[in-house]
Subunit: 220 residues, 4 copies
């Protein structure tokens, strides 16, 4: 997740970087430009929202011409989608990793909670895009598809894990489907609250507390 928030230097710095990079292999330079744009876009989307963030600003902040922009991305939308999928892929990877590293289900669940906190901090100032993804999904089928797919996948992950736990006897025989949905809902809700009102509470603690409440119902 860190990759999403690095490259936070000033445009001026960027310009210099650019000049220095002039003697790089072409392909490398192209890739770098592409990532500069993405980093800049991420920040702009987070700061102003998808609609209010202008391509112009993104280019300016990235130290890149509009011509370059449309060379790399066919539209603002595509860039947005690209950002979205990158984000989701990272999340997916994290999930899989965590699950693989855990021996039993309760342990994996506990780790999830930790990871959740990490997402929150790792995204840095760019967490608001998360909400923006969600919001835009309402109005654009393609984004909706891209957001809903992994989302359902997460729920399935959880449900399967819970089922496993039940099977191995470490969890009570609750309804895995619905429990998973509740858990995800809680996670999402806490994220949004932390997003909107970061100083309103110690959200890390509240998150721990909330998951513990649910676990109380699950553990044998």
């Amino acid at each position: 997740l860190k990759d999403l928030s690095e490259k936070q230097m000033s445009p001026k710095m960027k310009a210099i970087t650019k000049e220095r990079a002039a003697s790089q292999p072409l392909q490398e330079r192209s890739l770098e430009t592409r990532q500069d744009i993405m980093a800049s876009a991420l920040e702009q989307f987070a700061r102003h929202g998808y609609e209010a963030a202008s391509v112009n600003e993104i280019c300016l902040a990235a130290g890149v011409s509009k011509g370059a922009f449309y060379h790399h991305f066919s539209s603002k939308q595509e860039l947005f989608l690209e950002l979205l999928t990158t984000w989701l892929d990272l999340m997916d990877g994290q999930f899989a990793l965590l699950r693989a590293q855990s021996d039993n289900v309760p342990q994996a669940l506990a780790k999830m909670t930790v990871m959740f906190g990490e997402v929150y901090t790792a995204a840095g100032g760019n967490l608001p895009v998360f909400l923006e993804f969600w919001s835009q999904a309402q109005y654009n089928p393609q984004i909706w598809q891209s957001v809903i797919d992994p989302y359902r996948r997460y729920q399935k992950y959880f449900a399967e894990m819970l089922q496993e736990g039940i099977d191995e006897g470490s969890l009570k025989p609750i309804d895995p489907q619905m429990t998973a949905q509740v858990m995800v809902a809680q996670a999402v809700g806490l994220l949004l609250q932390g997003l909107l009102d970061p100083d309103g509470a110690d959200w890390q603690r509240v998150t721990q507390y909330g998951f513990q409440m649910i676990l109380n119902d699950l553990l044998v």
Copy 2:
């Protein structure tokens, strides 16, 4: 909450209504125009989002001139804020009512769950504005203030209720503050899920289920 989603007639119908209204008392006519605009705006915001919804479209759909629009609202923002506060006031009223009608705390909590479901259905197709409110709060301090105030109030409501329950002996001595926050988070999360993926689950049932899980931890 119903007032927010009525007035769903076509623009053509509206135009006729307008003409008929020409002979009404001025004040009444003015009020009606204002509400027409608000209803239209609610729909447009829900359908396209705050930024993408144009004042022009809102006026067209309301069968109202832009002159009328800017007579009633000084800006798109102000209208948005107006919509927001109306919504929140309604919610506040519902909360207070429900609490007053309940004898003990567990009963009130149960009713809340029901009310939550009602919100979901009552908003009709215009629920997406909810997300839009949340989203815009990120970028606009005034909206943020307007959204965060009642939000914190709700949490306080809940926390007080829980404290009451503990005092009257109907609830376990849990941490009321954090529990309230978790409950609100779950509500919000479920709402968003229902918003994004209405057909992904029977959210009414999931909601019931989720609150039951929390209640299990609370009840003596």
Copy 3:
């Protein structure tokens, strides 16, 4: 000329005046309203120019509703024209007066110079409308007519005066027509300079000086 720049109270003051005036005879009140509007308009036109001054602002500053405005004046233009003619009539009166009060031509000319200085100070902060009159005359035939008529009249006045002076032997036999035009031109030029760069020179003195130069050529 003073009438043009009095009534410089704040809108608040006006509002009070208005309320007090509620018990006045209707006609009187109407007249007052009309003059309030004109005073406000004068100020607004002077401050922002004809186009940039909005009827709204004029009304606000006058403490008058837009309905009232259009009751008294059929358009912004008409008001402007009204202002213009009022101004010009005042000037005309002053001219006639001065000429009547003078025994011989050189004396009258000297007095003109004094009067000119008075115009400058009497107009107070609202002198820029003068330029605005001139400017608008370019684009609007009606205003042009209203501005050009008295203008030519002034020149004729001067020319006649000079002719008189020649006839009575107090002036050299110069071309009265062209001399008059030059004098008026100088007056206008000095006015504009004083308008644009009030602190650039002691325009009163320069005016005296300039007219003296011309007089040197005229006096026998």
Copy 4:
């Protein structure tokens, strides 16, 4: 000064020119577009005044899209200022040239008079912008600055010239400062009169006559 008033072809002609120009080197094409816009703007400002001239009209008359317009100028104001400074620079150049070409002061003064006449004719139909410049200087500090600077410079030019004349013994020991101001004032006044009432007199002749009057006071 002629450059300011050429390019008076119809929009249609322009469109053709544009298409032909599509195969020009980019920089040249850009420059041409810029000048097309400026020429069109000059005409529109002259015809309707600064405020009343719309960017739309300017673009239409120039055969250029609004996008192109805002690519070249950041605002209508900036364009106006650009026009102003170009004009003033031209004037400055003319002044310097004339002075350099003259042997003694009286000769230079005489030439100035001629030049003044040329300005009048060279500007063609676009002289009204002159008044517009003056007018807008009242309401906009930046324009004021741009207009007042060269203006004071002209006066200083004149004053220095006069001082030179006094020193070289070709002029009487008058006050050079005030005399210069009077001369400029007369010039401005005559210009405005010629502007407002072109058929009211033979302004060329009147100008000659007026300057002669002043010269009478200066020459030894």
